[in-house]
């Protein structure tokens, strides 16, 4: 059993690394694909936990993540990325600067959120561990992605990353009832469809005089 938990730990770390990879990436299509991979890793964590704890709900959750998050969400996103060269590549970002800012933001957020509160929450699946750090890292990474990018699609990916972090958090703390989890998945899927509709009309976001103040 310890081996399974160690593997889960490593996959959780890998999920966080995919978050940083999306942040540093300039190619929108590649970012969307990485999101799909991130969802697959979350599904794997769910399957492994299901196996370790002999709980069938984890398997259902894993299947839902694969169908709705990994395939459908990625499909809608990739499908709506125009073939236009300027769109697939976001040039106006300084990767080094952004990653440094990202690290500062995440370290401060995690320090505030984790060390004063979440550290007291004992997870049912991983007692006496600090595994909750990984979903929290991913969550704040998603938030930073939304605020640091101007492209609609990059911001959508930040939002999906946040949602992925919530699945991971739920899996590690205590999964909420499946009916609610399914409703959340469907809600997010519809939101992604709306996002992608708007992304065609408004691919980049700049400050507007009419919306100041």
């Amino acid at each position: 059993m310890n081996i399974i938990y160690t593997i889960i730990y490593l996959i959780a770390a890998l999920i966080t690394i995919t978050g940083f990879y999306i942040q540093g990436n300039k190619y929108i299509r590649s970012m969307a694909m990485t999101q799909g991979f991130q969802s697959l890793l979350i599904a794997m964590v769910s399957f492994m936990l299901g196996f370790a704890l002999k709980e069938y709900t984890f398997f259902i959750l894993g299947i839902l993540v694969i169908i709705l998050r990994m395939f459908l969400v990625t499909y809608f996103l990739i499908n709506k990325i125009p073939k236009n060269k300027s769109y697939v590549y976001e040039s106006k970002i300084s990767t080094t600067y952004l990653l440094i800012m990202d690290l500062i933001f995440i370290i401060i957020s995690i320090f505030i959120v984790y060390s004063v509160s979440f550290v007291y929450i004992k997870t049912t699946t991983f007692p006496a561990s600090n595994i909750l750090l990984f979903p929290l890292l991913l969550f704040f990474q998603g938030l930073f992605l939304i605020s640091s990018r101007r492209r609609t699609m990059a911001q959508v990916l930040g939002y999906i990353e946040e949602e992925n972090a919530l699945i991971l958090l739920g899996v590690f703390i205590l999964p909420v009832p499946m009916i609610i989890e399914t409703s959340v998945f469907l809600d997010v899927l519809i939101l992604v469809v709306i996002f992608s509709v708007i992304s065609i009309e408004k691919p980049v976001h700049e400050k507007m005089e009419e919306l100041r103040g």
Binding site: S117, F118, Y120, I121, T124, F139, G142, L143, I146, T152, Q155, V156, G158, Y159, E162, E163, L166, L169, G170, I173, L174, V176, P177, I180, S183, V184, D187, I190, L191, I194, F195, V197, I198, E201, K202, H205, M208, E210, L211, G213
Partner: protein, 441 residues
């Protein structure tokens, strides 16, 4: 149970008559009002749905503003030249928007409440681009991304509630008594940030002025009058689990202060009313957070009266925009020549700034009294000063629009009766309260 289901299903049935959806939706909203009366006399005990006196008031608000907005939309939406969505699709989305709000109010489960709140974002997002422009697209985007990201926070709160109680049933948790653990405190605190995004708590309020100013006026009225109160209701239900009184009252007070400051330099009258909504919602949040009898009564009265007053203000704003083609306060003047529009704007403006004898005045009075009662003197002083600042800012701008200069706007193409009715109902709420419940004062 059957009545609850009917309330959710009837607007959806009305949507089936897609070609005639304008009329079928209006009929559905009237039937909903009758069903609500039935629901009031046959309150739903705890089950999948839970409706008590508090939720009844919220459902009444939602249904009334939904009906008024549908009626006002008939002329308003029809006359939009550059429509982002078709007229029938607009009514379809309005129906879904209404159902998602009522679902969040009636359901007896924190998880489904979250789903209801998220669904309000889905159903209302495309309503914002009814009057399509580059600005409205940007406002829509900001609305979806900020609110969705914020509400995601709230789901952490739901996870923590489930972790603490092993159930998400509202009544089971509330009736189980206070449980003081880090997880419960964290759940309530995170809910303030998460659902607070939709309520308009500072500093996560930034979507609010953009969405309100760019949405078509009937949708702005729905946002301001009922969507924010629905989010506040959900936030209150979580607050009941473990009242973090100091945190919530301070959050509300700071938000009211900033709303009053923002109100001081507004150039766009719709943005001005949006910040006024932020101010009123946070006053109501303070009232509910005091967790006292007077605070509760004051908040409900404020929210009820505000919903009609603010709907009137946004309908009047819609009329002014149609007549003048500008949202800039400095470019509007001489509205006094348009009697109906100026009267409805003035009455609505009085309503949202808490002028006696409006319900908002008595509501604010009771909330201030409850803040004083729990010895939060610093907050009391800040709130009073902020209310005064907001009152002066809004009424000064509205007076300029009505009494300064001359105009030759025509009221022929706008519906002037609905804004006036909304503003009068707001007064009636206050007068009825004064007559029936005067012993409270």
């Amino acid at each position: 149970m059957i009545v609850n289901i009917l309330i959710l299903i009837i607007p959806l049935i009305a949507s089936i008559f897609y070609k005639n959806i304008k009329n079928s939706s209006a009929i559905a909203s009237i039937i909903e009002l009758f069903l609500l009366v039935f629901l009031y006399f046959n309150e739903t005990g705890p089950g999948f749905f839970f409706v008590d006196n508090i939720s009844i008031i919220f459902i009444l608000m939602v249904d009334s503003i939904y009906l008024l907005s549908l009626l006002y939309s008939r002329k308003y939406v029809h006359s939009i030249k550059n429509r982002g969505i078709s007229e029938n699709f607009y009514y379809l989305l309005m129906n879904f928007f209404y159902v998602s709000m009522v679902f969040a109010l009636m359901v007896n489960n924190y998880g489904f409440m979250w789903v209801g709140i998220e669904t309000t974002t889905i159903s209302s997002a495309l309503l914002l681009i009814t009057e399509k422009s580059d600005t409205s697209l940007e406002a829509t985007w900001r609305y979806i991304i900020i609110v969705s990201a914020g509400v995601t926070f709230a789901f952490i709160s739901v996870i923590l509630i489930y972790y603490s109680f092993h159930t998400l049933t509202v009544t089971t948790i509330i009736y189980s008594g206070v449980k003081d653990t880090v997880a419960v405190r964290l759940a309530v605190g995170i809910a303030l940030v998460g659902f607070g995004t939709k309520v308009g708590v500072f500093p996560v309020h930034t979507w609010l002025p953009d969405a309100h100013s760019e949405a078509p006026s009937p949708v702005s009225a729905m946002f301001s009058g009922v969507l924010l109160p629905v989010a506040l209701y959900v936030l209150y239900r979580i607050y009941e689990i473990f009242p973090l009184r100091e945190l919530f009252v301070w959050a509300g007070t700071i938000s009211v202060l900033f709303a009053a400051i923002f109100l001081g330099y507004q150039r766009n009258y719709k943005r001005m009313f949006a910040y006024s909504t932020m101010e009123n919602m946070n006053i109501a949040l303070i009232g509910l957070s005091t967790f006292t009898y007077f605070g509760m009564i004051g908040s409900l009265l404020l929210l009820l009266s505000h919903s009609f007053g603010k709907a009137g203000a946004f309908y009047s704003s819609g009329n002014i925009y149609k007549m003048s083609d500008t949202k800039n306060i400095a470019d509007i003047g001489g509205l006094i020549n348009n009697r109906m529009s100026s009267v409805s704007l003035l009455l609505s403006s009085f309503a949202v700034t808490g002028t006696p004898p409006y319900g908002t005045f008595f509501g604010e009075f009771l909330i201030l009294y409850s803040v004083f009662q729990i010895h939060f003197y610093a907050q009391f002083i800040i709130i009073v000063l902020s209310l005064f600042l907001a009152f002066v800012s809004i009424n000064f701008n509205v007076s300029k629009m009505i009494f300064r200069g001359k105009s030759d706007y025509s009221e022929n193409s706008v519906s002037t009766l609905i804004p006036l009715i909304a503003a009068i109902i707001s007064i009636a709420v206050g007068v009825v309260f004064l007559v029936v419940y005067n012993e409270i004062l």
